[in-house]
Symmetry: C2
Subunit: 429 residues, 2 copies
């Protein structure tokens, strides 16, 4: 129950032979029907300086859509097995050839198609294999659980499980649904251009559909807010990808709530700054949070996750930098794996964030147990059975207070295991 | 052949019972004789915001020595097994109690003793165990290989091998020697306050003795230069410690070169800005480079190392940031372990350094083989047997050109292995 659950969308997945494994590797998501008030598209991309060709093309299209030069996107073509990154001008031409083929097959403008690619870096995209499958892909576009599953499976790389989310709410007198699929397991530490003040560090992809009526700029505003508090809050390996991409499409086909007294009126487009837009943004954020947590739970080699909340910081940027430094420390990640309450690693990782800290004003809790307070250890904590329970949980929750400031931020990471090493020491060969 | 090889120094190591393993864990290095022209001390410390108590005390003493308020340090007391970090005011008092005991035993001022501690974080220092061993330690102070070995062994934590270096040169008509010991295997990514423009990220300790005549400020200048191009150029796990410390002591006892015509004159203190000071700095740097490379070769779980040189950057800071991002990427580290020429990970790691990059001006060589040029892959490279040879070398050498700028920088890292995980998932328990 994901991308084709909101009204107005179809999807399909197939096997083009890009993955050496022979698993499905090509996906198409399509909004049906013509552009109309409240049909929109929005996107967020990696801030890595080395960009996949689809990101270069996609950023350009997003800007043109937001400026009103072109209409919203209607289709997303995604391949797994090859990222079409570090491939120069040839990569751009290859992406554009695929977009043109989809546009011809579904009868839209090539600029209404977003390309997206994930997989090995620095290899030319096997365009002929992809073009050969476009007719079969468009012929199998469908709605329903089977189509949703096919789409989610075709975008996986080292993922062990497909990832999807769905939410619905009554907004502005209409029953609004949001559906989404995502992939990502390694090279995960998105720093998307939605909001991150500092440069990007995985390939995670997420594709979101909604039947809300919301035009591109208002959808972009909602996506920026939702992505910055979800995808940008996870890290598997502190290596942002050249290809991280989140794309959202709206169909404006949400039906009126029966008996709401608006007599079957089409939904009016949601406008930024209104309570209805806030309600939509909150719903979108819940979908993005679910996908983000699914990604880190399925992080390469991960057996458990941990969440670090930094409290009392001077600014959200400070809080985020500290939380990020903690979840990215290999020593902290190994301690989580070993269920070892070696909290000195957490505190010293925080000390490397480039943020001024005063140990006398710091305290750290793991689960319900305070282990460090006002700069000194609480020795009795190490004997508290609740501490070993908290360290053994599927998700270890830590709260680090750094002062009396107004700002907080959280990050979710995963443990570092021999499995991670084995997956990544033998990936291309 | 290390710290007691230069004239004027003695050392000793013993077992105080701080390490649960029962291995030796307490070391003393002492300069003999009174303060005189050309006896000096210098130090560099971590920039982590959470500081070990010995670092807090040591920074204060360094500043006072440089301002001439107190004389140079004469002794360094080092313990392994407990870092005396995150221990608040009590930690400071504990460090001072140890310094006072050494001062009384060797008849110097407490402020002429540097404390240094490495090991588990957030546990109170077992002061009584240390104080009980000071008499035995001072009674066994000696010169020669046995003393050097005892000192180097007593400062080890997860190190598999002791680390030492020695160099000599004729400078200013005198035969100058430099000897040093170091430790470090995990929590290694020093960003010392010698020069690093950005905040610190292991515990590495290094203790250097020289019989050159060089006063504290001139020794500090030489150490800043040498440490910034050696210890600050290695990373095992991108987690700078709260305790990273480099301390250098000079005895001014270097003997005249026989027949050099200065008739047995004592060596005149070396002054910053002179060719003789430059010659000394170069000798010191060679010792620091040797120790730094020994540390990364013995990195926790490491089986091989890799060196990344970034060329053509706009500034040394840019070059260094890019090189640091590459050596710290878990994905690059796993590729090195797997001998996998997956160069897309190197290029995209560079893209996360927060430095503007233009792929069209970038190229990458691994060993003698160019794999990426002007933003596009060189497909033939992957079949070149020299590439697999380079990837299988004990040290993999990569050169990444990012443009035509004047600046370059290098970093040395190590592979990420299942051994690293196992060492760190079960460290305190």
């Amino acid at each position: 129950m994901s991308v084709t659950r909101p009204l107005g969308f179809k999807a399909a997945g197939t096997t083009a032979g890009i993955k050496p494994s022979g698993k499905s590797d090509l996906c198409l998501i399509l909004r049906e029907g013509p552009d109309a008030p409240g049909t929109g598209s929005a996107a967020c991309f990696t801030q890595n300086q080395i960009l996949g060709a689809p990101v270069i093309v996609g950023r350009r299209q997003r800007e043109r859509t937001l400026r009103g030069e072109i209409g919203p996107a209607r289709a997303v073509l995604i391949n797994a097995g090859n990222s079409n990154a570090a491939t120069g001008d040839r990569g751009i031409h290859d992406a554009e050839a695929c977009m043109a083929a989809v546009a011809a097959a579904v009868n839209c403008s090539p600029t209404a198609v977003y390309p997206s690619s994930t997989g090995v870096i620095g290899r030319l995209l096997p365009v002929e294999k992809i073009l050969a499958k476009i007719p079969a892909l468009t012929a199998t576009l469908a709605r329903g659980d089977a189509a949703d599953h096919a789409a989610a499976a075709a975008i996986m790389t080292t993922d062990l499980v497909p990832k999807s989310a769905h939410a619905q709410a009554d907004i502005a007198g209409h029953r609004v649904q949001i559906g989404a699929i995502a992939k990502g397991s390694g090279m995960i530490a998105p720093r998307l251009d939605c909001a991150a003040p500092t440069p990007a560090k995985g390939t995670m992809l997420a594709f979101i559909t909604t039947d809300a009526a919301i035009d591109s700029p208002d959808l972009q505003a909602a996506l920026n807010d939702a992505a910055s508090l979800s995808f940008d809050r996870i890290s598997v390996d502190n290596h942002p990808s050249c290809s991280d991409t989140v794309i959202a499409l709206s169909s404006a086909m949400a039906p009126p709530i029966p008996g709401a007294g608006r007599g079957g009126q089409p939904m009016a487009p949601l406008r930024k700054g209104t309570p209805d837009h806030q309600a939509f943004t909150a719903l979108l954020r819940s979908v993005c949070e679910s996908l983000a947590e699914q990604i880190v739970v399925d992080g390469e080699g991960a057996t458990r996750t941990f969440r670090v909340e930094v409290l009392g910081a001077a600014s959200r940027d400070h809080a985020e930098r500290i939380a990020r430094e903690v979840v990215n420390s290999p020593l902290v990640k190994c301690a989580i794996h070993g269920r070892d309450p070696n909290w000195g690693r957490i505190v010293t990782a925080a000390g490397n964030a480039g943020v001024p800290l005063d140990p006398a004003r710091m305290s750290l809790s793991i689960g319900p147990v305070e282990v460090y307070k006002a700069g000194v250890p609480i020795p009795a904590a190490l004997a508290d059975p609740r501490l070993s329970q908290a360290m053994a949980a599927k998700r270890v929750d830590c709260a680090l207070r750094v002062g009396d400031g107004p700002a907080s931020a959280w990050m979710i990471g995963c443990d570092l295991t021999a499995g991670y090493v084995s997956i990544n020491a033998d990936y291309t060969t």
